[in-house]
Symmetry: C2
Amino acid sequence: MSEDITLSLDDAQALSLDVLQHNGFSRAHAEAITRSVMAAQRDECHSHGLYRLIGCVHTALNGGIDTQTEPEIVDKAPSVVIADARQGCSLLAFEKGSALLVEKAKRTGIAALGITHCFHFSALWPEVEALSSQGVVAIAMTPTHAFVAPAGGQRPLLGTNPIAFSWPRPDGTPYTFDFATSEVARGEIELHRRAGKTIPDHWAMDANGEPTTDPTAALAGAMRTFGGYKGSALSTMIELLAGPLIGEVLGHETQAAGPESTAKPFHGELIIALSPHVFLGQDCDHHLQHAETLFEQILGQGARLPSQRRYEARQRSLCDGVTIPQALYEEIRRLGSR
Amino acid sequence: MSEDITLSLDDAQALSLDVLQHNGFSRAHAEAITRSVMAAQRDECHSHGLYRLIGCVHTALNGGIDTQTEPEIVDKAPSVVIADARQGCSLLAFEKGSALLVEKAKRTGIAALGITHCFHFSALWPEVEALSSQGVVAIAMTPTHAFVAPAGGQRPLLGTNPIAFSWPRPDGTPYTFDFATSEVARGEIELHRRAGKTIPDHWAMDANGEPTTDPTAALAGAMRTFGGYKGSALSTMIELLAGPLIGEVLGHETQAAGPESTAKPFHGELIIALSPHVFLGQDCDHHLQHAETLFEQILGQGARLPSQRRYEARQRSLCDGVTIPQALYEEIRRLGSR
């Protein structure tokens, strides 16, 4: 029987900071990573919550990441910021670069932040929400490692390449989505494998390019993009914009760092911010209010908004703290000093 | 038996200019529309080729569009241009606004062009390709009328909301895609209806929100987004960015102009341009060349690039002219002066 443990937000945060600093992360990195991990855990996105500390620490112990490096922020052009993560985690580079990104977007109307040479393990929605909470519309994208075949192909080439979007709403939580351009998350196939379950045959193909219901064969083969050739096109766009456009590699040129490999996991991320105030001037409030009719009509026909479940979870966690499996808690705690 | 007629590119262009000017379009509008229609016909995108002249003229005759108006170009901010189409066709506003868009992108790194109060009937790829041919990366999006249900809903709310992307390639044609965020184009369902064929049951739902294979019931009901909730999220983003962000309406607030309706078809379009030269400086050529490895790897596993068929058609048309059904040719010719 699996038991759970409930932690206060403060205790969960202290645990995360301790584990990261005990494993060599600078205070600045530990805090930036903890903010992202805590946002995910608070919203019950367990796959990007405290669980991620394990992978993060292992990547550091395998030498796959510089845990002390300071990102370098380059004011590249009136509407472009480059944040060179210098082989550190993306999150500190995002935090340091996003201040200038927002400043530029509010001055010029639209601006871009390219994060380079970063290790990236986090969900994108905390970043686009951090931006929309400052009144700008935000889009973020990043390639991952080569797991996904392009539509019409049979071999892994594209990453699971997520894209996220956040739109500020006058009262309350933003309109936010964050999805992988693969048919499902890679972790979903992994979970089926662990549970000894088959997978639907449109999720992935085996190493011969044939549809498979066997998760092990799928993990050794190639995943499919969502929505066929359209998802594949979108995924390719993400490779290009968060890759060569910012001087970075393509997804298939990166690999997860592991104990038996000298592979380096570094790649890029692109974030675009648009300022409704610059576009609309004094009519801004009116048009942001007008956008609400779209959300009302979606909800009015019984459909949900993308992050609705997450915001409901957030309310619960703010009152009751976060709950994780006892075994996971013990595993994380053993990585720390206490 | 249906017969075809082949026209030289010059003759097809002259036909388009004649039909448009004979029906009240100013020389400037007629030329801008003809450039888009000819690009589509040349690339054998028949649905956006000469065939579109019929709808364009009927919209004008129904009073649904101002055929003489001059777009107003507003230099809104260092990275934002607004092109007010003033109830005219979007294409002249695009052409007039895009010069400033490219200038801004090449100065600030990223810029946006919002086209407002426009009648929009054209494909987006000619626009993003016009931009990528000037060395910038381009993204375009526009809402259409309410035909599509949000994921989890049953009633039409979203447009078929296309998004297009073009990436300049060092030698040859750009990497370009242009797709509707609906599962299929509305015209595809219409074609099945005319042919008396059923449709796959995941394309649309009937007026009761039930899956249907009957194209007539589908047209009276709601189409589905591609890729389920992910396509729905993307479609919603397009409504917001090409709508309220630029002071424009949402898709469900517009309607096609028709003989029995006083509905106005005007809405917005958003185009984003990014300059690789600003992002990359002297390393630009190197990284654009590096992006080619992605296309090589896609082609190398037997997959196609999104616009490949179109570029092949273009080569044929540049040699042989364009071929359309004789009946369509006669119908278009009767709209002109000759």
